[in-house]
Symmetry: C2
Subunit: 430 residues, 2 copies
């Protein structure tokens, strides 16, 4: 039976909004936002969209008017009472009141700041300028909007049953991965796929399929809205933007060299336990670990987000051993371009040597590879990064030079300061 | 938004009825029913369920109480006004008023007669006795109920997402078949899958997918309810039960030998054009054609429902040629256990030599082969046949001895009367 009122109501919407909530974002964004709010409230930053997949010509695929409508809709969002209650009342990582009242008061009043949008060479130049705690919250919704508008542009040309079969194939594909993962002993895996998801509804489906298919092995999702709606753990700690902005603000080389540790010292003041996860690759993992202060060795684990994951994990294990720590008590979180084969082999290789967990992103929530003609729905490498702080450019080196960013001279300076030599290049798939 | 009233309403149902309409049946049943009503209204017949797949132990899988509820529900059905209007007002095979007012008046007042149900050796013995026009209408709903209850018994043990992925896989499987069929030049194909469908909703999905995926090449469905709901052609002509009952009633061998032609003579009085399709295999195709009267050569085509389809079609072509007919003007309808590979190769082989069309049954509407553990949803060979008329056993020889049925002595007599010698056995898959 058709619910007439609902049908009329639905027809009233001028657009089908992609992002419908300020907490349809990654949990670590909110954690980092609180840190930034408490310590660097007035720091001015610029975030920019960067499409590393030049062959996906977004400005030709996506209508500018539609993109503006979606972005404008995001600017109209504010935290709902239920969302605020969830953030204030929930236990995250075993801790109550993770978000402090003063942060929540600010967040409740927040609207996202303006954006600048232009077309250039078949791509969109999308830039956000303003204070750090506000601008940083654009990253995830901006990415999800562009990813989903691209999906819609492709889906628009398909028939009704063709569409249903497309999703049938995608579901089957994911389920077959889940069936493989089910056989991995002591698996711990979380959804990290918000930013490059095919669509919100698809991510929501994937998360629920993981919940049923993997049971306890599925530890939660980075997406706060889905975590809230589906009663799951919200997962995540910190990201590259913290050291990148800290570094851009540093005066002189010596100060620069200290910034990666200052970020974590600040973090340590706020967080404990499983939130104390080192992200060591912003300016090269080997140097970071070599010069790391002793207090960092007591941290719970390391997240590996670039470079050769086996090599990076071996480096981390050796580092813990050299500092008198037992790696079997430590956690390695792999989160870079993972799929089933890599996870299976990493789990097997490091079983019994270190605790392992996986943050599964794009190939969980956007594996439409091979499902359409010309692979028009294959995921692509879109990022939205802090490119400047207080007018100074940011730099990222990473353990994979293809993920590096920043002006050439600054990259050279950072390499010198952090002692980064030759690095092996790895293809950036997603 | 939940439609509360609908939810409450749905919860009121004591069962989820499988067959919800008297026209959820094959079109040819209604055509034959009219013939039988007009000519043999008071002939008493017995129809029985026969599970040729002994390894599928239906009485262990399906609860007897549930089966009785479904069968009782079917007995509560009567023709709705809209269904009657569709039958009275529609054009079938280009003809108006295919169903005569006197038949419709009777059909509108019809309720299906009682059934007898017992368990034996892990199987159900399900028997229908009464007058032919009433009892014959049990065949299709009885089969669909048993097929779907078996599906439900297997599905009951599956998780929510496991279920969704199961259907995703089945959809993908069918769509891939459609994509192959799309490439077959001049394809004509209809859905003949009601009797051994996975479920009603699944058949409905398959029909709609065929409509979108094949366009004009999809000529319609044998299922009257789906044809009505989806505005498609209802497809079908006649079946083995006519010669089987005529034959059982024949007095003596000479009369018996004439019955296959008497059936078609009666049919010819009622129908023309594309409804004049010979089903020659009840007592062996070669003998049937050899002794066929000349007026049969003017019929539109032949349906091939057992034996080697290539051989049977070649036999038909030779027969037409020997009787001075141009086979290119004739139609061959293949309808026995078809799947994509067979259809593709038959279409190719007979292209330009004879008009070809396909009645695609079980492997259209119930191809869950390989989709569950232990293949618990694979289709199986269930039939419901006229086993007696006026207390005399019926016999079917078919072009495949594995499809033969009837008491041994009678089978021997029929073989003698119809001159059927050695026949090649073919596996009966579905």
């Amino acid at each position: 039976m058709v619910d007439i009122a609902e049908r009329v109501w639905n027809h009233r919407w001028k657009i089908d909004p992609i992002v419908r909530s300020l907490i349809d974002t990654d949990f670590y964004k909110l954690l980092m936002c609180q840190t930034v709010f408490l310590r660097h409230r007035n720091t001015r930053v610029t975030f920019s969209l960067i499409n590393r997949s030049k062959d996906v010509r977004l400005a030709e695929l996506i209508d500018e008017g539609e993109l503006r409508q979606q972005l404008d809709h995001i600017r109209s969002l504010s935290l709902s009472r239920g969302e605020s209650t969830w953030m204030r009342g929930n236990t995250f990582y075993g801790k109550r009141q993770m978000f402090r009242p003063e942060f929540m008061d600010w967040f409740e009043g927040l609207r996202l700041p303006p954006y600048q949008l232009e077309k250039k060479d078949g791509q969109y130049e999308l830039t956000f300028e303003g204070t750090w705690p506000e601008v940083m919250l654009w990253e995830i919704p901006a990415l999800s909007v562009l990813m989903e508008l691209r999906s819609r542009a492709v889906l628009e040309r398909m028939g009704r049953f063709e569409l249903q079969v497309l999703y049938a194939r995608a579901m089957t594909k994911l389920w077959e991965k889940i069936e493989v993962l089910r056989e991995v002993p002591d698996l711990k895996i979380a959804d990290f796929g918000t930013r490059r998801r095919h669509s919100f509804l698809w991510q929501d489906w994937c998360v629920q399929a993981m919940t049923e298919g993997l049971g306890e092995a599925f530890t939660g999702t980075s997406n706060c809205l889905i975590a809230k709606n589906r009663d799951l753990e919200a997962i995540g700690t910190n990201a590259h933007e913290l050291p990148m902005v800290y570094a851009a603000l540093a005066e002189g080389d010596e100060a620069l060299a200290r910034t990666p540790y200052e970020v974590l010292r600040d973090w340590q003041e706020e967080h404990e336990g499983n939130l104390r996860i080192i992200l060591p690759d912003t300016y090269g993992t080997p140097g970071f670990l070599e010069h790391a202060p002793d207090w960092l060795t007591s941290w719970t684990g390391i997240r590996i987000d670039s470079g050769d994951p086996v090599q990076a994990a071996e480096t981390a294990i050796r580092w813990w051993e050299s500092r008198g720590e037992d790696p079997r008590e430590k956690l390695v979180i792999f989160s870079d371009g993972l799929d089933v084969a890599a996870m299976t082999s990493l789990a097997q290789r490091f079983s019994g040597r270190v605790k392992v967990s996986f943050g599964w992103g794009t190939l969980l929530t956007n594996d439409f590879i091979g499902l359409t003609k010309g692979d028009a729905l294959a995921p692509f490498s879109l990022v939205c990064k802090a490119v400047a702080a207080e007018g100074r450019p940011t730099v990222k080196l990473s353990d994979n030079p293809r993920k590096a960013m920043g002006p050439e001279a600054e990259v050279a300076r950072y390499k010198r300061v952090f002692g980064v030599g030759a690095q092996a290049e790895r293809e950036v798939v997603v």
